[in-house]
Structure formats: structure tokens, C-alpha cells
Amino acid sequence: MAEFLQLFVNGLAVGCIYGLVALGFVLIYKAGEVVNFAQGELVMLGAFVAFTFVVQFGLNYWVGLALAMVTMAIFGGLLDMIVVRRIIGQPQFSTVMLTIGIGVVMRSAAAMVWGPETRSLPTPFDAATFRFGGVVLSAVYLSILATTALLGLILFGFFRFSRVGTAMQAASQNQLAAYCMGIPVKRMLSGVWALSAAVATIAGVLLAPINLIDTNLGAVGLKAFAAAVIGGFGSIPGAVLGGILIGLIDLFSGVYLPQGFKDIASYIVLLVVLVVCPQGLFGAVGRKKV
């Protein structure tokens, strides 16, 4: 039982990270219908930038994290303004190829700048552990859960109550109508990219103590994809729930299923979900009207 609870908490934490990455996908997808295959690479880049600030420049952990988020937000916004914006309205194949290309470039740039070595990012939570009955909870995992909950609340408040958040929602629901109401739609899209890159940075920093930082960190993007699809690709709570589901499946299949299932169990679940309800668990079902 203790082992089960232990796995459950760890799976929850890993799932929260997947959920955060998936949330980044969903934000961008909702805003501009661009499926960002480079989201995993944004996570990787965010982790590397935070590593640079915290370890190489020796800044305080929190200051470094904030600086990394700001840097990545600017990067994400610029990426949209300079590259991605020009592709909106083109067939989906083009957007998929564009973001795959951007991802490849980002990964190779990271390999050139930071080299192929694996890095670790020291956090304030490294050593501490708590015991509840037989369950050992490390502070790292607890910090992940807390951060995700906090971030969820902040994002909810932002989209619900702030003027910019409402404008972003409007722009993603109907661009033309939003434009007519005087919302600067283009700036909003760039803003969503910036927000998404900042969220990806947080996910990268949270992932760093579990997974170490190297150029393959972007692989988390694939799991997050599965999470976003299971969640319906248009729903933010769905993305987080999908992420948690994938995280739990990942950890439990690694322990309770035969060897080899750890890497593919989440994909099998993804395929089953897609076959049973093709729009994901939380997506809208129906056909586009002409």
C-alpha cells in the first residue's frame, strides 16, 4: 500500500509537469490553431536558460527562475512575431512542418551553446523529505504539485479577471469578431506564445531535478502531446488532467507491467482513447458546419 501511495504521489507530480507542457500546447493551439511541435524544445531551452542563470551566473534560484521566464517569454513572443505569424491561414501540414523545423533548430542550437553533457540544476528543495506513515515524500515532488496548483490558479485568475486575459480568450474564440471589437489580435497571439514559453520554462525547471537537463529533454513534449490529445486539445483543465493521467500510467506501468511497457503504455492508452472517442475525453464532438 505504501508503495502504491508513493508511486501515486510521484506519478501525480510527473503528470503535473506533463500537464504544464500540455497546457502550453493548448494555449497556443486555442489562440492560433498552430500545433506547436516545438513545445518540448521550449521546455528544454527554458531549463537550459534557468541553468545558465542559476549555476553559471550564480544567481539566487528564484531570481534565476524569474529571469529565465522573462527571457523565454520574450523569445516565445519574438518567435511568433518573426516566424510563426506568417504561416497562419496556411494548410495544417505547413504549420506542422514549420514547428517541427523550429524544434530541430532549437535543439541543435542548444547542443551548440551548452554542449551535449547532462547538467543538473540544484533547487532549494533537494535534500528535504517528509514522512507520512510509510510514505516518503521528497520536497521536490511536493514543490511540483504546489507549483502546478498555484500556476493553475494564477492562469485561471488571469484568463477570468484580467483585461488582457479576456482579450486573449476573445481572440482565440473568434479572431474576426475580436478584431472588430478593437482587440489587437496579432499582439494577443504573440502574448499567448510568450505566456506559453514562460509556462514551458517552469515545466523545464520543475523537470530538471527529476530528469536532469540535456538536449533530449524535449522528448517530454511527446508525452505532453499524448496528454493534450487525451484532454481534447482545446480544454485547459483537460490538458492538466490528461497530463496527470499520463504521468500515473507512466509510473505504474513501469512497476506493475512487464519490462518495455513503461515507454509505450501511455501511447497505447492514447490510441485507445482516440479510437473510442476521437476528439479526446474533453473535446467537443461534432462536425464543422459549412
Partner: protein, 358 residues
């Protein structure tokens, strides 16, 4: 300038639009048949590679370029074809039946992934294929009886009716003939109702369905045909590399194939060939380029993927029809000689084509 004056309906579906193309294609085929007598074995090997890449590109072109279904897991079909082929060859099955069964096995896998794909659209399908290829790769590692696991399996030399295709020449002709037969078959499919239905589905699913196109059937067929070609390409590829390991068939290969299609030119058979030429030549060009770059950058192993990515981004942004689009522009320039206007090919401004349900 050339005007093609059509007097018969047959001309609309003819393989060659006019006599000039007949002449150039005959010249090309004579050159390809004569190539083994003219060039060194090394380059002949590279040409065989080019043909295999073209075949794989053709397979993805049918799916992505004509039926409009994005597959990010095409490496899985290549892998299935390659492993089934090697398994059968080891059991003493002759070359041609073995290659056909490899194609059929891949096609069966294509149907398996294609049937649920009927209900999915756009991005869901792309991700389903990605998941499928991840699962397939794990199966390649674990199913040791068939695949030799991660140790890999050696591929015997091809035997064609008891006649060993030991050297480069025999294998070259094998690849060439398979590619030509496949291209002709696909061309025929594309000018028949099947191909028209695929293109209709690509351009507007709803319009196609309204005109009575059976979406489920044609999408599954597209997957089956594409996977069959990929299986053939995989079988040839197995002979070419000589030793199969599961880490050949990674997502990187799938992305290379997508890149082949995109850079070559979406929605054209020429595109598949141009894209393959591009993929075969690029490593050589990059190797040459390393000599001229500052040492700090030139020695980086990440340089090559970086250049691939930059080219992909530039193609999507600047020349969405790829090398084939460029070729058509150049041809158009000479046709229209003093009258060429770049506005002819101007990209139309479009409103966002939403796939969402409002």
C-alpha cells in the same frame, strides 16, 4: 511560349502533357539504364539510395501530399517492411514474393492505423501515427524472434531467380525497376477516380463527402497504398544497409521523410524525387561547407540537424511548394520569357481556415 491545344478528352488524363516531355523522359530513362556502364560503383550505390529514398518519399507523398493525411510515424511502416522481408528471406522465400509480402504486411499495419484514423482529423491523426511508431519501435526491440532485438539482424544479399545481386549493378537495376513500376502505378491511381477522390478529400473533406466520396474507404485505401510502398522501400533499404537494428526506424527517420516531402514539394510526384535528391546530396554539401566555416561551428556535430531545420523553416515560409514549385517557376519563366511576372505565383492571403467547431 507553348500553348497546349486540347482536342480530345484523353489529353486531360494523358501521362505526358506534350511531346517535349516524352522526349525528355525517354532521354532520362536511357541515361538511367546506361548509368552502370558510365559511372563508378560508388556513385551507383548512391543512386540506389536515391531510388530507395524516392520510393519512401513517394509513399509519404501519396498520404500527405495527395490524401492530405499527415503521418509522423512513417518510419514504422518502413521498419515493418524491412523486418518482414528479412525474416522471409532468411526462411528461403524468393526475393519478389518476399518483397510483396513485406509490402502487404506494412499495408495491413497501415489499415490497422487507418481504420481508427477515419474518425480522426488533422492533428489527432498525426499524433496517432506518432504513437503508433513509438509502439512499433518498442516492438522491434522486444520481439527478438522476428527482429533480433536490439542486437539487430544481418541481411543476406538479394537473390533474383537464383541470380545473385551481389554487386552494385544488379541492385541498382532492382531499385530502379521497383521505383519506376511504383511511380507508374501511382500515376495511374492518381488520374483514376481514386486519386481524384484523395485530392478532393485533401482540399475539402466536407465538399468531398457531399459529392459522394466514401471518406472512410478512401482514407483507409490511402493508408494501405502508402504503407505498401513504404514496406517495399523498407525491404530495399534492408538490403542496402545490410544490417537492421531498431534504432534505424526512429522518429528522426519519419521527420526526414516529412522533410523530403516538404522540401521536394507537397502534392507532386516530382517533389518526391527532388526531395530525395536533396536528402542524399545535403550531407555531402554540409561536409564541404564545414571546410569554410569557422572551426568553432564547423566541428559541432549538431550542425547538420541545425541546417536541416533551418532549411525546413525557410522552405515552409518562402517556397511552400518546395523544389518542385521552384522548378515550375523556372520553367514558367522561360515559357513566358519576356512576360514573366512574379505575381503569378503570389501566395494568396487567406483567412484562418479553422478546423474547430464553433
Amino acid at each position: 511560349m507553348r500553348f497546349i491545344f486540347k482536342t480530345r478528352y484523353d489529353q486531360d488524363i494523358g501521362l505526358f502533357p506534350h511531346r517535349g516531355t516524352v522526349f525528355w523522359y525517354s532521354l532520362l530513362s536511357v541515361a538511367l539504364v546506361a548509368a552502370p556502364f558510365l559511372i563508378a560503383p560508388y556513385y551507383l550505390g548512391e543512386l540506389s539510395f536515391l531510388f530507395i529514398w524516392s520510393l519512401a518519399g513517394l509513399s509519404l507523398m501519396v498520404l500527405a501530399g495527395y490524401a492530405g493525411l499527415i503521418s509522423i510515424g512513417h518510419a514504422a511502416f518502413l521498419g515493418i517492411g524491412a523486418y518482414v522481408h528479412v525474416y522471409l528471406i532468411h526462411r528461403g522465400v524468393p526475393l519478389l514474393p518476399s518483397m510483396l509480402s513485406a509490402g502487404a504486411a506494412a499495408a495491413a499495419a497501415g489499415v490497422v492505423i487507418g481504420v481508427p484514423a477515419i474518425r480522426m482529423r488533422g492533428i489527432y491523426l498525426a499524433i496517432a501515427t506518432l504513437a503508433f511508431s513509438a509502439i512499433a519501435q518498442e516492438v522491434f526491440v522486444r520481439w527478438e524472434a522476428l527482429t533480433g532485438g536490439s542486437r539487430g539482424v544481418a541481411v543476406p544479399k538479394a537473390q533474383f531467380f537464383g541470380w545473385s545481386l551481389e554487386g552494385e549493378v544488379g541492385f541498382y537495376y532492382l531499385c530502379l525497376s521497383v521505383l519506376v513500376v511504383c511511380i507508374l502505378a501511382i500515376l495511374n491511381l492518381l488520374r483514376a477516380p481514386t486519386g481524384r477522390a484523395w485530392i478532393a478529400i485533401r482540399d475539402s473533406e466536407i465538399a468531398a463527402q457531399s459529392m459522394g466520396v466514401n471518406l472512410a474507404g478512401y482514407k483507409t485505401l490511402a493508408f494501405a497504398v502508402s504503407a505498401f510502398l513504404a514496406g517495399l522501400a523498407g525491404a530495399l533499404f534492408a538490403h542496402k544497409v545490410g544490417y537492421l537494428t531498431p534504432d534505424i526506424f526512429t522518429p528522426v527517420l519519419s521527420i526526414q521523410l516529412l522533410m523530403l516531402v516538404m522540401v521536394g514539394g507537397v502534392g507532386s510526384i516530382h517533389g518526391a524525387i527532388f526531395g530525395a535528391i536533396f536528402l542524399v546530396l545535403l550531407p555531402t554539401v554540409i561536409a564541404l561547407l564545414r571546410d569554410y566555416l569557422p572551426a568553432g561551428i564547423a566541428q559541432q556535430p549538431a550542425l547538420e540537424p541545425g541546417i536541416y531545420g533551418v532549411i525546413l523553416v525557410l522552405v515552409v515560409l518562402l517556397e511552400p511548394l518546395g523544389l518542385n514549385g521552384l522548378w515550375r517557376k523556372i520553367k514558367f519563366f522561360f515559357w513566358q520569357f519576356p512576360m514573366y511576372k512574379s505575381e503569378t505565383f503570389k501566395r494568396q492571403k487567406t483567412y484562418m481556415r479553422t478546423e474547430r467547431l464553433q
